[in-house]
């Protein structure tokens, strides 16, 4: 195992290693999100059928994308915590839960606001939308389990089991638009095919997805660092950190 892996595995090593990453991630996510928003709102052409409501895609697709990718982060961190009893991985799992819930909420709300002018309704019990709502409740469940236990270790184990059971929902979300073709349109981006959008509409979407990725990484690290400070508050290195001011 390389040295950096061991450093990343210890809370202290993770804290020290991620400190210089934070300003870069903050600047990158701010620039990408601002550029993508201006591009998507003002400069991408309007959709021939949907008009300007289509511009909601630039937040709807990236947030849904990261809500799903974030579930893998949470479930894999939970699995590593259960199998190898790595202290840090339960902290990462806990950090990923409110972040994923917030992104799922953004995709649900932006989807509802897109649905009204496009489909004539804010909400339908379509397979894709319903399975995203289930994803939101799975995230809330993992958060709730952390509040239910006072013991961090027991909370981590229970939440990891729930997160792993919930991964059954992920392929259902991906496939829902193909299995039950009701109202939600099929995927815009597929890894195996060319995008079904014109490049002038697709490029700002790529910028926004990159921005959401950077912001996801930034917030995941910030949440994990706060959790480390909380759990390691009795340790020597945190005491030295507090005495030394910034670190």
């Amino acid at each position: 195992m390389p040295v950096w892996f061991h450093r990343l595995g210890s809370p202290k090593g993770f804290y020290g290693m991620t400190t210089p990453w934070l300003p870069w991630l903050a600047v990158a996510s701010l620039l990408l999100l601002m550029a993508g928003t201006v591009w998507g709102l003002g400069f991408a052409p309007a959709d021939a059928k949907q008009g300007n409501s289509f511009r909601i895609i630039y937040i709807h697709v990236p947030s849904a994308f990261l809500a799903l990718a974030g579930y893998y982060v949470m479930a894999v961190a939970g699995a590593i915590g259960l199998i190898w009893r790595m202290k840090l991985s339960f902290m990462v799992m806990k950090a990923a839960a409110p972040l994923g819930a917030a992104l799922t909420l953004i995709s649900l709300v932006s989807g509802a606001l897109w649905g009204k002018p496009t489909w004539g309704t804010y909400w339908v019990w379509d397979a894709r939308i319903t399975s995203m709502l289930v994803l939101f409740f799975l995230y809330l469940g993992v958060i709730a389990l952390h509040y239910a236990y006072t013991n961090g270790e027991a909370a981590g184990k229970a939440a990891a089991v729930l997160a792993l059971v919930g991964t059954a929902n992920i392929p259902i979300i991906y496939k829902s638009v193909d299995w039950w073709y009701t109202l939600h349109q099929p995927a815009t981006i597929r890894l195996t095919e060319a995008p079904s959008m014109h490049p002038s509409m697709f490029q700002p979407l790529v910028v926004m997805i990159a921005g959401f990725y950077c912001l996801y990484a930034l917030v995941l690290i910030l949440n994990t660092r706060a959790e480390i400070l909380h759990r390691e508050r009795g340790s020597q290195w945190v005491a030295e950190l507090a005495r030394g001011g910034r670190a």
Partner: protein
């Protein structure tokens, strides 16, 4: 690549879809700002709690040392 709207008013109106587009972007902005600010606030609270505890622990130790001597 050029600006797609004839006027700023047309940009705000979004061809009648303005309320939906702007509300969804505003909601996203609020949630994303909250996501970044909340761990920073929590870190600040934890650090100030640590800073307050430190002198108190120092005082305890010196009291114990006095008793021993």
């Amino acid at each position: 690549m050029s600006f797609q709207f004839d006027s700023l008013a047309a940009f705000y109106a979004m061809g009648g879809h303005g309320p939906f587009v702007w509300l969804s972007y505003l909601f996203t902005l609020v949630v994303l700002v909250w996501l970044v600010v909340s761990p920073l606030m929590r870190t600040r609270r934890l650090r100030s709690a640590l800073a307050r505890r430190r002198p108190a622990m120092g005082a305890q130790r010196s009291a114990a040392e006095e008793r021993e001597s």
